[in-house]
Symmetry: C2
Subunit: 724 residues, 2 copies
């Protein structure tokens, strides 16, 4: 393991337990017992001011008395005593401490002050802290059990578990044992006063015994750093995260469709995708997938062969595979002929291959071998309800050598309970993932394919964000600096005007002229737009820009102009523009009597194209989050949008197009001609870069962005933005 | 049990096994053993031509020798011998037979002929058949085990299992035992030569020991009858169906958006919804839900209290509840005060109530009692990872009396494996549903709420389909009779013109004039439309109908006119109509040189409104299937559509509106004014009735259907239909 600041936690030469207790009902006894019984090879020392002996070792009365070597201190003492003990550990030259006790930040301001004091002391001695309020950590291979959980600990295995929740650690250990897989490491992070989920990714991923990292997350501490560290770890080992607290995000002030739709979960989805972290929806999925990722080779593709001795579950498996984006492999003629030679005439030789209920262990093994040898098969799912004529255990014994010799993943759906118990034991011992139902087995295969595709894509050139050419951030900076103070002051003013509102008011929009300068600085085409203060001026401007013309009411207080009938399109001549000016102003006054109306914006009307929305907001956790999708006024109703974190790679921009109907139909659809996808991709990359370069740009949204026919480009027709 | 044609299967006074065998490796032995060991109280007789004794009973050599009483024959003999044996059973006066053997329809034409012969013999003796190619049936309360499955059979319970797949029966029995629930009845239907899934619904629902029916379906035999019977059964007992073979439906010829989107699964979804059948996505869900429905009282609403001794799983549960459409109950002040008196200061008194890891069995029980007493709580989810200080078993024992005394449902998430085993046993014995993870427990509560809502709605007036007023089916009949032979002949002609096409060609569209007469007969408003054969005629018609006008090319070969730029809107005057005529004809000729062009349809242009799509197709299984949603040309891309089976109830029409964005925005959205929902609902009811009255109307689609502002009505702007 590479040396690093967390090394003393994961490879300590000696461990010191402060608060070791002779009372078997105390956690300080349980932890001492686990340290000794875990067969840890380093030195184990106990401290208790009362002195005496425990488990054949002396209880030192003072931390400073403990002899070398000692790298890691575990403090199981009441919260108020922790800062002093930490200081003594520091004096003793210890650079890593786990604080088990609760009574810190989670209890209120006094506890938070105590936690801050711990951090201060640790900082003075260059000491890293894990916890407080945590279960501790555990390594089954080192081995080291520095938790106080009741035995038995987890069997040694290849799945690491990193958890924000201490409470579920005992359940996960117990459940893992019952499900027949072991853990490599378990890290309970507690309050994360210092060490957090991001810090432990690299040292856990570097552990040679860990093949998969599973994460139980209640959030992340620093979104951008998490993405960096998780991406690095994900290229070495699969990471699966269960993010809880989906529905806990509060309301927030938004002034754009993008802001309204870009919730916390959209940001987490985008972040996990960017980092290559597989997101599980349930705890069960996380560990179902974990076993498969730990034990199976990666598949070359998504073509699955299903081998069964019963038709019904074969159909269920086929359904589940297709629902998960896999497909049934097309078997070669040679494979079918070879199967025919083995199986009874009534067997089904097409995938799913149904050997019938009479299938023997030898037939199971021979058929699976044939299927895995077929070049059109990427992975296999074997379905095994209790066979009427043989034991499931005998089938398992016959299958295991075939599975071990294959370079393709095989998962097993063992259906039943007692009649399959022997088979379960065989498969677990052989590290073959088995599941109770075909649906769960199919889901595991889909994740294997997802992981294989991630690894393949990670080697390609278009996955890194590329900074587009000809950006002029200095010009954008000038614009923003001009408006930033105004925006903030105006925002405060707006807030003070509406004390009755429960939601904080968003600061007002940037003026149109400023937004257009911003887009120009980042090379995003806009239509020339000019402000007319009178109907005659509007006619004058329209004549210069060309007919047909569009007029839109100009008001900093009206973000959605069409809501007040403040937009008129396709005005063919001077007379129409003159009338249009009066109409949009009048409509706006009627709808929003309080709004300040600056005049009317005049533009030339563009050729037809496909109108989309492209926007970006600053997510509190992960920074600039880009949205793309179907635009217009119904964005929030249709919800045909996708998200990615800025800056974007080419592949991420393509993802946004492929995951929305607005994006897919750019290739043309029925009478709709193909549109300029390339120009749109370029706009997305540029908009994303703008949002990434200027975190003070709180929201920016182009709606509509008109994508013209191929070669025609993409033009922002209406834009709004605000600073924060 | 009420007398009925299937009574001999479910309440036989005596059973006869033909093919009983002394050889313990034969199925004929296994079945004889099960009959005897199942403790069946009626007469049991064995037949084997070789004679002798078996299990202390004589082996009769001939069926006719068997003494009274005997109501049910089970035939476990080779397929070719079955028809003769059936004849003998008939002679013996037996009116029910189970045919276990395979070798019938599933093996090809010869087997199908044999199966037909069985049916013929059965018909001659008024005998009902179950199978062939099935496991048989089993009733744990009668009791009767007429299967050949290896023991042990399932423990007695309240879940009935009806299965098209015989192979999964053994797995389900074994799995049920492992999961701690029993079965009341198991029915394996096999080839369904006679008795099918629909036939057994009433007798199984009438069983007093059955509290829930679970169905493993590969399809249904007669869609409409299934809906009728399942509706009747669902009002007595919950029905849960797992329908497999989702992705097996082949391509078919369609000529409308409705046809393209109305796949087999949309029809099954609509049918299950209409019948009140709960659809499970996985086998695991079906039985997870089955236990909860069998054991819990119905909740009064969707407000759930979560009680936990660990924060993390509480959050997971909250997520899962909200994802499933439940909500966290708001606890009353009184409840919170009472909880405070019991719990330590650091406990969380807000839902989820986190008692902390130290929670004792007494605290669990007292807190649950308080939560269930709160009027704002409809159901409760208790989360129990292995408690560090107590055993999970002790907690279970304390909780069970509270749960039994409550009139609200309580489910338990027991997290772990070995440390919770004792608790598992207690809960199972007490018939309290327990699940390994909070997500599965939350899903069970959601289904309980769904069932309660179904029962409440089933008592309301608007759930029955009501025939709208002022329909003129006789007029519609005239129109259809005029075109039916032409359509069929033309269809044949089209097919013969395109032999290279793999898909069968749909028959051509009905002429516009005919479709408009159809709609008029069913009281659906249309815009007057007239066919112009020349530009001058078009101008003449437009002048009569009023400007602005719309022109559309008229061709039986061009179903989607906008695909060929064959539509021009908002033509303000005679000159524009004249030019428009030439343009749409020219565009159509360019795009489809082979198409027959009849002229141009002229209409007046309607006021603005909300344009939607409403269509109906005849589903092969369930008959008329209505679609509603976002219209225009992008229907198939946006997929903002919902389905229901015709004829519709008012509630079903409302469902279509609530489950689409197109429907929801009818109430108004931003600048979009509210539209005439009432008029739209009326159109949907009428269109559905038209499709239900005329099965020969293969597809009909109004796109767009313009819903005007409130009070303005809804007008069909473009319609196409074809016969089949």
């Amino acid at each position: 393991m590479s040396p690093g600041p967390l090394t003393p936690f994961f490879a300590p030469r000696g461990v010191l337990l402060v608060g070791a207790s002779q009372d078997p009902t105390k956690l300080g006894y349980g932890l001492a017992r686990n340290l000794v019984q875990s067969n840890y090879q380093g030195a184990v020392h106990f401290v208790n001011p009362r002195g005496g002996n425990l488990l054949g070792r002396p209880l030192h009365t003072r931390i400073t008395d403990v002899p070398d070597p000692v790298d890691l201190a575990i403090l199981l003492i009441p919260a108020p005593s922790v800062p002093v003990a930490l200081g003594e550990c520091g004096e003793r030259g210890i650079h890593a401490a786990i604080i088990g006790a609760g009574g810190f930040r989670e209890t209120g301001p006094d506890g938070a002050a105590l936690e801050a004091e711990c951090l201060r002391v640790a900082g003075a001695y260059e000491m890293r802290l894990m916890g407080p309020n945590c279960i501790g950590l555990l390594d089954t291979h080192l081995p080291l059990d520095a938790t106080f959980l009741p035995p038995p600990g987890p069997p040694p295995g290849d799945v690491a578990f990193i958890s924000h929740s201490g409470a579920i650690c005992a359940a996960v250990i117990d459940w893992a044992r019952g499900q027949g897989f072991g853990l490599s490491r378990l890290v309970s992070l507690g309050n994360q006063a210092d060490v957090n989920e991001t810090d432990v990714l690299a040292p856990v991923a570097a552990d040679p015994f860990t093949r998969v990292l599973t994460l139980y997350l209640e959030g992340v501490s620093d979104g951008r750093r998490f993405i960096t560290e998780a991406s690095r770890a994900a290229r070495q080992k699969p990471l699966i995260a269960l993010k809880v607290g989906r529905f806990s995000s509060g309301q927030r002030a938004v002034a754009s469709h993008t802001g309204a739709l870009a919730g916390q979960e959209a940001a987490y989805d985008a972040a996990f995708r960017k980092a290559g972290v597989i997101r599980a929806e349930t705890s069960e999925e996380m560990f179902d997938w974990g076993r498969a990722l730990a034990w199976c080779p990666p598949p070359q593709g998504r073509a699955v062969a299903v081998l069964t001795n019963a038709g019904g579950p074969g159909v269920t498996a086929a359904d589940a595979l297709e629902a998960g984006g896999q497909r049934l492999a097309e078997l070669s003629d040679a494979t079918r002929l070879a199967l025919q030679a083995i199986l009874p005439p009534a067997a089904s030789l097409h995938n799913p291959v149904d050997m019938l209920a009479s299938a023997s262990p030898e037939q199971f093994a021979a058929c699976l071998k044939l299927l895995l040898a077929d070049a059109g098969v990427d992975s296999a799912l074997v379905i095994l309800p209790p066979p009427p004529m043989y034991t499931a255990g005998a089938v398992a014994k016959a299958l295991i050598p075939v599975i071990h010799n294959a370079e393709k993943p095989v998962v097993v759906a063992l259906m039943g309970e007692r009649l399959i118990q022997e088979a379960v034991e065989h498969f677990r011992a052989a590290r073959v993932p088995e599941y109770r139902f075909p649906e769960r087995a199919a889901s595991a295969l889909a994740v294997l394919a997802q992981r294989a595709e991630y690894l393949a894509a990670a080697g390609e050139s278009d996955v890194s964000a590329v900074r587009p050419d000809n950006l002029h951030p200095e010009e954008a900076r000038l614009v923003l600096e001009q408006f930033l103070p105004t925006a903030v002051i105006a925002s405060a003013a707006v807030r003070s005007r509406s004390p009755q509102s429960r939601l904080p008011q968003p600061p007002p929009q940037l003026p149109q002229e400023a937004i257009l300068r911003l887009l120009a600085a980042y090379g995003i085409d806009t239509l020339p737009i000019r402000l007319a203060h009178s109907a005659e001026e509007a006619v004058q401007i329209a004549s210069e820009l060309g007919f047909p013309a569009t007029v839109k009411v100009a008001s900093p207080d009206i973000p959605h102009k069409s809501d007040v009938n403040g937009v008129l399109l396709d005005l063919p001549d001077a007379q129409a523009v003159r009338g249009g000016f009066e109409r949009v102003v009048q409509n706006a006054r009627l709808a929003r009597p309080q709004a300040e109306i600056l005049g009317v914006h005049v533009q030339r009307m563009l050729p037809k194209g496909q109108d989309v929305i492209a926007g970006a907001v600053q997510d509190a956790q992960f920074g600039p989050l880009v949205m793309f999708g179907s635009g217009g006024v119904e964005v929030e109703g249709l919800k045909d949008v996708a998200f990615a974190l800025a800056p974007l790679s080419r592949a991420e921009a393509e993802y946004l197009l492929e995951h929305t109907w607005a994006g897919r139909k750019l290739r043309g659809y029925r009478s709709l001609p193909p549109a300029d996808r390339e120009a749109l991709l370029e706009v997305l990359l540029r908009l994303a870069q703008l949002a990434a370069d200027f975190p003070e740009l709180m929201e920016i949204e182009i709606n509509p962005l008109r994508v013209l026919e191929v070669g025609g480009g993409a033009v922002a027709l209406d834009v709004r933005a605000r600073l924060g």
